[in-house]
């Protein structure tokens, strides 16, 4: 049996490991489209800050890992899939056959249709190659404009700011991380960034980018609200979309992401999908969507591999969750952080000290949460949500004091108190 995995990000690499564990004799081929050993995008910020070298971003610390586990690693771009022949076409013109195929091609950055954005010197911050470029260009005092303050935008911001540049952010939404945090929280993060010397413009967008030959800074950026900003370097962090181009004509159905069922199977037999490229099951809603986060990618990878290995494993759904460090301010959000209809919530705000905790309930079950400044026992938020623990009387206690979270968890989820 030959398993082929396209994509050497976390989803693909986790899948390769599980496959090896479950299928000692099978052949495993892992294909990555970038000229690097399999690495983790998530670690890029830490590479940028200088906390780790490039090797520190690798998904496996042991250089011999793949060899040891008899996983063949191939650096190549897959251009086409031919399910009839059970074959992949590579950019080099070569082909490779498979018995079972996992699509784990992740996502790639997209840019808004703004005049001037096609300039090749405007970079994203998605790959190691991008990171190298940014590291080279960011010097103390360099004027950097970052488009987008979403989740990834906020994470890289810290790294970029740490290089000593003069950083300006332009975000379309009315706050920072609009897709992960509510107004209160998103605005607190914004205020925090401003306190740390970052200029943040929200509720506006870049309408035009002019590149000036004779003048420094090189770029003149026009915004919708009529401002003109200058920058030596523009970083676009304006969202990502699943990488699906190579699926044209394959019969693998997509709709803003590869469609899969609860066994991670695509519409085509023996082809599975996992990670940022797949519309996987969401724990909270039961629907299928692209979550584009690391824990989900690894969960997908693991479950897909089990199914590929013949261990029938349904995916009950991944919980959408994020943890974010924005220039030292730690925030996290879980599940239905925006609340649910007919639900109930608890909220605690300490604006001055940038602390926030909001819990969302449906009946007496926690279904979502947002936290600012919480670093201890954060995981129980996930635990409570995902086990759908009935909080009983603890719900009222949490409503009057949400910091009793850990006690509620121990009492109800762990039955650690007397009845």
């Amino acid at each position: 049996m030959k398993h082929v995995i396209v994509g050497a990000g976390p989803a693909g690499v986790v899948a390769s490991g599980i496959l090896r564990k479950l299928r000692a004799e099978d052949e495993i081929l892992l294909i990555g489209g970038e000229p690097e050993p399999p690495y983790s995008r998530m670690a890029i910020p830490y590479y940028l800050i200088g906390n780790v070298k490039e090797e520190g971003t690798y998904l496996k610390t042991d250089a011999d890992h793949y060899k040891k586990h008899r996983i063949d690693y191939l650096q190549a771009q897959v251009t086409k899939i031919d399910p009839k022949k059970k074959e992949l076409h590579l950019e080099s013109g070569k082909t490779a056959g498979y018995d079972k195929l996992l699509l784990a091609t992740g996502a790639f950055p997209i840019r808004p249709p703004v005049p001037g954005i096609e300039d090749p010197d405007i970079t994203g911050c998605w790959t190691l190659a991008d990171a190298r470029l940014i590291a080279k260009r960011c010097k103390k005092g360099t004027k950097v404009l970052q488009m987008g303050a979403g989740f990834i935008g906020c994470i890289i911001m810290e790294a970029i700011a740490a290089t000593g540049v003069e950083l300006t952010i332009v975000e379309m939404g009315d706050r920072m991380v609009p897709r992960m945090m509510n107004e209160t929280c998103g605005n607190l993060i914004k205020r925090w960034c401003e306190k740390k010397g970052i200029t943040v413009h929200t509720s506006t967008q870049v309408t035009k980018i002019e590149k000036r030959k004779d003048k420094k800074p090189r770029y003149l950026i026009h915004t919708k609200d009529g401002q003109q900003l200058e920058a030596d370097l523009i970083i676009a962090s304006t969202g990502v979309a699943p990488a699906l181009d190579y699926l044209k004509g394959s019969g693998v159905e997509t709709d803003g992401g590869i469609l899969i069922n609860e066994h991670m199977e695509t519409s085509v037999a023996d082809i599975y999908a996992a990670g940022d490229c797949a519309k996987g099951r969401d724990f909270s809603t039961g629907g299928y969507e692209v979550q584009a986060i690391q824990p989900t990618a690894t969960e997908h990878g693991r479950i897909a591999a089990q199914n590929m290995a013949g261990v029938q494993t349904p995916h009950p759904g991944s919980l959408n969750m994020n943890v974010l460090d924005t220039v030292g301010l730690i925030s996290s959000s879980f599940g239905q952080w925006m609340g649910v209809e007919g639900g109930d919530h608890a909220e605690l705000l300490d604006e001055e000290n940038f602390r926030y905790l909001r819990l969302e309930f449906k009946d007496d079950v926690l279904v979502g949460a947002q936290a600012l400044g919480l670093t201890q026992h954060v995981g129980v938020l996930r635990g409570l949500i995902q086990t759908e623990t009935h909080l009983g009387p603890w719900k009222e206690k949490l409503k009057s004091d949400p910091t009793q979270l850990m006690s509620a968890y121990l009492a109800k989820a762990q039955a650690q108190t007397l009845p």
């Binding site: 910091t403 850990m406 006690s407």
Partner: protein, 614 residues
Amino acid sequence: MTWHRKILRVNLTKGTCETEPLNMEWAKLYLGSRGLASKYLYEEIDPKVDPIAPDNKLILATGPLTGTSASTSGRYVAVTKGALTGAIACSNSGGFFGAELKFAGYDMLILEGRAKEPVYLMINDDDVRILPADKLWGKSVWETEEWIKKTHQDPLIRVASIGVAGETGSKYACIVNDLHRAAGRSGVGTVMGSKNLKAVAVRGTTGVKVENPREFMQVAQATKTDLKESAFTNGLTQYGTQGVTSVINATGIYPTRNHQQVQFEGADKIGGEAMFEVRETDGRTNMVRNSACFGCTIACGRVSVIDPNHFSVKDKPQYHNASGGLEYESSWAMGGDCGIDDLEALTYANFICNEQGMDTISFGASLAAAMELYERGYITDKETGGLKLKFGSAEALVEAVELAGKGEGFGKDLGLGSKLLCEKYGHPEVAMTVKGQEFAAYDPRGAQGMSLAYATSNRGACHLRGYTIAVEIFGVGTKLDPLTTEGKAEITKLAQDTTSAVDSTGLCMFPNFAWTLDQYQQLVQADSEGDWSMEKMMELGERVWNLERLFNNKAGLTTADDTLPKRLLETPAETGVGKGLVALLDKMLPEYYELRGWTPDGQPSNDTIKRLNV
């Protein structure tokens, strides 16, 4: 190591928070906690200052062993000029606050001045802020702790605060930390209240290192084993301090009804064993479990639950949960001394004392004095506002504690403490106090050493300034005849000096039932730089005692204050070991002064001062 070598000085008048290096010269002489804080107080304030004036200072201090893995390392002291006594006050408390203060990086916190408006202090390691307490003023200790933790979104913040008693000027208000641990005596909470300081909240993450880790860990382990193997400390684990009730009562040194008797017929109903008796009404016991202060391997603390059917809490579900239970002195003061044998009522009164920040001993004894005034007709319903202050009345206790906690009605009078209360109503002889402070639960007529210990205690009547009971009654180490005066001056001095040394380490006194000063010494030596031999430790104790004495003398106290109430000096005990005896203080006092190297008028001689380098 050992000391962080750092002090936090907060001036509430100016609104400043500054750190400064610890005076290491003084640290080498006074070690820490009680000794070192007393030295700072002695040097920094005029002993004649009015205790509740802004010029008085309040020092919260840890010791070198606070926050280490030595057993009982959770303690801190509150040192100030006592509002109840006008003498130097040093109240010691366990719980977790002290260790947390140390973990925040400070050996000591000096609080000066008076804030214009109520404030609380929030210490997050280096981040120290004086914050408005307008939302907290008028709130209980329990509400205050909850509010602070919630507002700062950190359940691990430790809080030391005053209740309404401390705000309304009760003379024996205490500082309560961790809900039910108190720096109880002498009115240290009154001083805090006079500064408009509602609470000190701390979260510390810097940790504590010791000088000789390897040796320290060995000694810490060995000394913990000593505690584990001692019958005395095991008794504390099992019954808490309450375990002594029956012995003390049987011996006949259990002051009853404001020291009118020395044995209480209802003692067994309110002692350590009684707390384990299954109640008919709800099938539970008063005692829920024992609990420990930070780092303590004894865990003498009581956690209690009041019978929900009991009249005191019937319509008050907020008191149906478990909370800090009775300790011996509290059970005695509010129980035996008031002739009350209702365990549930006592537990309730104890809860309220914790909640509103009152010293249980002084409150209980003041109520006992009021009861005597009432029964003798010196005060009537008119003065008490209708309170029927009959000895034995649990109803009266429950009402009185609520009023005193809030400083309302007759509670205001009770808050004066026995001395001022009895003076107010023209019968000072009814007040059972020394230097304005109420007695603890041992009648000195049947334990003569205590006569001297009480009379000469630097903070007023107190059992923790020289617990001669240990040798006179329990025979810890040696056993002396409790009825004679022979050797008592010496043993009192020894107990006082030893305790002063122990109190300067940052550990609790209770291990002393299983240890001698040796174990403390070994721990200090391994923990701290410098020479801390036994000789030095004894010298330290004596030095601290003399320093406190000097403070008091300068504050205007004289030999005339080294005395006991007439009742103890002149009326013989009716029953018990001391039957027919009075407190034979006069026989011991001169000898004591001489042993101390003091002049006959109670002044440390120049030679003594020089010898001890005070």
